[in-house]
Symmetry: C2
Subunit: 202 residues, 2 copies
């Protein structure tokens, strides 16, 4: 008897990890976009037969939404880890922007951001996708806003700065970086954007 887990449900157990499969799907969806990513490509990348895919997920859209959620979970965890090392509010804002700059060049830049891709390709016609994009953007913006206030409290950011409008701009900068990263500017360029944008906190 297995003490640590709940009793196994009836039927044949799944032979693959959902999250591992989603990590493969994220790559396909990010590079190709939702519509250009075919089930054939997805099943090859995920190492599954079509039948198995459709037993784990209702349809292609469900695979995508699950990939989106997994993507957000992983990226948020990495970001929080990065922010935890920040010394003060200003440093944390800088780390956050650099986190996006890091993702916006080279191979990961070309692969692209699943949130941006969803906003561009899906949000207009898919209310559920739009809501996920909105939640993601709102969360990021609120995070920047909070870090600015933290910086004002610890003296690392000028008190005259308006946290709300400044967070708007910095969110725009991060999303813009992701767009520009699709055609692959070099690393230095992405980081010079961060350095210059940080002037908004002076």
């Amino acid at each position: 008897m297995d003490i640590n887990t709940a009793t196994r449900p009836p039927g044949r157990p799944r032979e693959f990890e959902i999250e591992e499969a989603l990590d493969k799907a994220i790559v396909v969806f990010s590079e190709r976009g939702y519509h250009a990513a075919s089930i054939s490509e997805l099943k090859d990348a995920m190492g599954l037969a079509a039948g198995s895919l459709y037993k784990a997920f209702k349809d292609k859209r469900a695979i995508f939404l699950a990939s989106f959620d997994r993507y957000k979970q992983v990226r948020n965890a990495l970001l929080e880890q990065e922010l935890a090392e920040g010394e003060n509010g200003r440093d944390k804002v800088s780390r956050m922007l650099r986190f996006y700059a890091e993702a916006s060049h080279g191979a990961s830049g070309r692969r692209g951001c699943l949130v941006v891709g969803t906003a561009i390709e899906l949000a207009v016609y898919d209310a559920e996708a739009a809501e996920r994009v909105d939640r993601s953007m709102a969360r990021t913006e609120a995070m920047i806003d909070g870090l600015i206030r933290e910086g004002q409290a610890d003296g690392s950011i000028a008190p005259a700065i308006d946290p709300v409008t400044t967070a708007h701009v910095l969110l725009s900068v991060t999303q813009g970086l992701r767009v520009l990263g699709k055609t692959g500017p070099n690393r230095d360029r992405a980081f010079s954007v961060v350095d210059t944008a940080m002037k908004l906190l002076d």
Copy 2:
């Protein structure tokens, strides 16, 4: 005999204006993206039969690239018109950013930018599309750079500002606005981004 035009080519004359048809295609491609826009949707929007479409354009990709070029031509003309009314370099930068903010909210915001859409959906796998995106971005950035230098020459922008890196950031802001505009923030928000970003010129 028609004095004003070159002699008409042999064969039945085309009954529609290519540019008018492209203006309709631009709407479809902007809203739906390249892959989700079907020939069926395009021909309905453009008011043409499939056969006629394929006599005017080699294939779907050619329709898209022609739409992209037409989009750039129209938008560039509108932007130059707007900039011509600017009083000095700073005012022109502000007008440029407001031009993007105006496009990034409401119905046109939801419709989206064809350049951003191409960058996200096509640039990675289509070298010709990527080149067009790059040229567009480079042109916009060079324009901002030039306006900053103009402002420094006429005294409306601080001489300590680095035109190159500042143009990088402001380009990122414009592209970011276009992404955020897909899920439709309100007008005031888009313009508050512009106002705050203008602080980078102080």
